[in-house]
Symmetry: C2
Subunit: 323 residues, 2 copies
């Protein structure tokens, strides 16, 4: 019997489920509609029957189920006020799914799940203090301190994307101004490009794109071809992220930062200036201490593997290494 866990990644449209082995390999994936308007109980039932189908045919030994969800609360096992899901305000999802299985069911938010994935299967193995920053549509954070995930008193710690990067700055979807997310997410990069197109006279192929059409991938291609505006946009993104990471360093003093998500694919275009601005903004006592690294999680499966790592980590803390 092969020991496995199930990782579940809940998105607004689709829910991805994966069978993950004890090494963090995703053996099989399935996707179902999230269909949150049908109610949480029917949704949980759909998840349970999909898991049964996936695990029924092979001699698997199911050890646990981990879930990564927007606005997921680890301490309570709930999804709370998720803006892109149609559920009631507070969904006790671990209870609803737990009814169907005799194994631990745990849930956390997607950025925390990514951090735990890095800790259990990725570059942060063996580290006690590190910070994972997810640069996607938004900016997410996951913080490890003293070898444990930082959840805070209410389960909602590490909303690093909503720390203030520029006081009184850009309007954020959260209602605040100047959040890190408004500068360093994929959408933030696009906003920066438009700011630069307005403030500068430099020629740029990016002047041919509408705001809606421009993607961070496109900005990356243009930067790779030497487009000055695109290069400046990456530099500005790195400047703001680097400064903010220096503040995070002054808070929890991690031994490493891991950068995950779409913008991390820009490689040196992002990491070289990031390293520079991070160091420029560090208090002397922290100089040359923390590494900035690209996440080692495989992009396509990271959310599933991270979710499975959540339950794997809990099991291993209790029982030791599972093989």
């Amino acid at each position: 019997m092969k020991n496995i866990t199930i990782g579940i990644d809940i998105g607004g449209t689709n829910t991805a489920l994966g069978i993950v082995d004890t090494q963090g390999n995703c053996l099989e994936k399935r996707s179902i509609r999230t269909n949150s308007s049908q109610g949480a109980e029917s949704y949980a039932e759909g998840i349970a029957s999909t898991i049964r189908e996936m695990t029924g045919k092979v001699a698997y030994n199911l050890k646990g189920i981990g879930i990564g969800a927007p606005n997921g609360n680890y301490l309570r096992g709930t999804i709370e006020h998720a803006p892109n899901l149609d559920f009631e305000d507070i969904v006790p999802l671990t209870d609803l799914i737990g009814k169907y299985f005799d194994v631990p069911v745990l849930l956390t938010n997607d950025a925390n799940a990514a951090a735990i994935g890095e800790y259990v299967y990725g570059g942060a193995r063996g580290m006690r203090d590190f910070i994972m920053i997810t640069l996607g549509t938004g900016v997410g954070g996951g913080v490890f301190v003293n070898g444990e995930m930082l959840y805070g008193h209410d389960g909602f710690a590490a909303e690093l994307g909503h720390t203030t990067a520029i006081p009184g700055g850009r309007q954020c979807n959260c209602g605040k101004l100047g959040c890190l997310e408004t500068y360093c997410s994929a959408n933030g990069l696009r906003r920066t490009v438009f700011e630069l197109l307005a403030s500068s006279n430099k020629p740029s192929l990016l002047r041919n794109f509408s705001f809606k059409d421009i993607t961070s991938k496109e900005v990356f291609y243009k930067a790779s071809e030497g487009d000055e505006i695109a290069l400046m946009a990456f530099d500005r993104t790195a400047e703001i992220l680097g400064k903010q990471m220096a503040d995070f360093m002054a808070f929890s003093s991690p031994e490493a930062f891991f950068i995950f998500g779409g913008l991390a694919k820009a490689g040196d275009l992002l990491f070289n200036p990031l390293e520079k601005y991070f160091n420029n903004n560090l208090l002397t006592v922290y100089k040359n201490k923390a590494a900035i690294r690209k996440s080692e999680l495989e992009e396509g499966n990271a959310a599933i593997v991270g979710a499975s790592a959540l339950v794997m980590n809990a099991l291993q803390s209790e029982w030791g290494v599972i093989k």
Copy 2:
């Protein structure tokens, strides 16, 4: 035999030593010159003989020695590169003092010691996640997460005074620009007064003071008498601190903030606007969750009591409550 600990508060000029009982009462205090130019070994010897004198005459049962020091490193028991002390770069002070006694000797920085004092003897008793902010000559931080002090990978976490409040802002002694400390310390308040005296035409008795002569106490008196510039200075201080505390909330989501040090004595003048600006800057998920409270530590003995709490906390984690 009465169980006691010794708390030691190391300052640039003087070192204060106190006998502290298990309830956090300081029974007796002594002060010696810090005399760091004589070398660390002779300094440690002086501390040891003072402790012997203090504890020799009464039937005390000495349980441990706790030290609060500038640039103190808990993990290594060292004072490292302290700018206001004349010692060599790295002083292994717990080893040097430990030679003379058969009890645990622990050391941390002053702001952390204050936080542990609040945790063991003050308003944070029973809390697992809280943040202590010390508003003194500088701004210090101490962070508890999951019921433990946050030290980070190197022992230097929680330098909250050196997070960036205003990017590109005021020059800080640390070499950076815009640190929280340059706005919200006693000296920061003075700088704010001068900024307001320059930008505004309002009459103010504070126009009679030189930069050197003005103190935060004086600003407090003038504000209490309704001086508009002084009131604006407190409001501005609270605005910047409140915004920064909202960022700290987004990092570790504590259940409470404790404010300690000189400026905390301003009471409602600081706390009322602080509450307002903190709430205005909070992400929705954190609204109405964390209290902002004045430290319950007694100002005069707080550093000694905090240092003693460091060792008391360690002893109690190991042995349970000591009476």
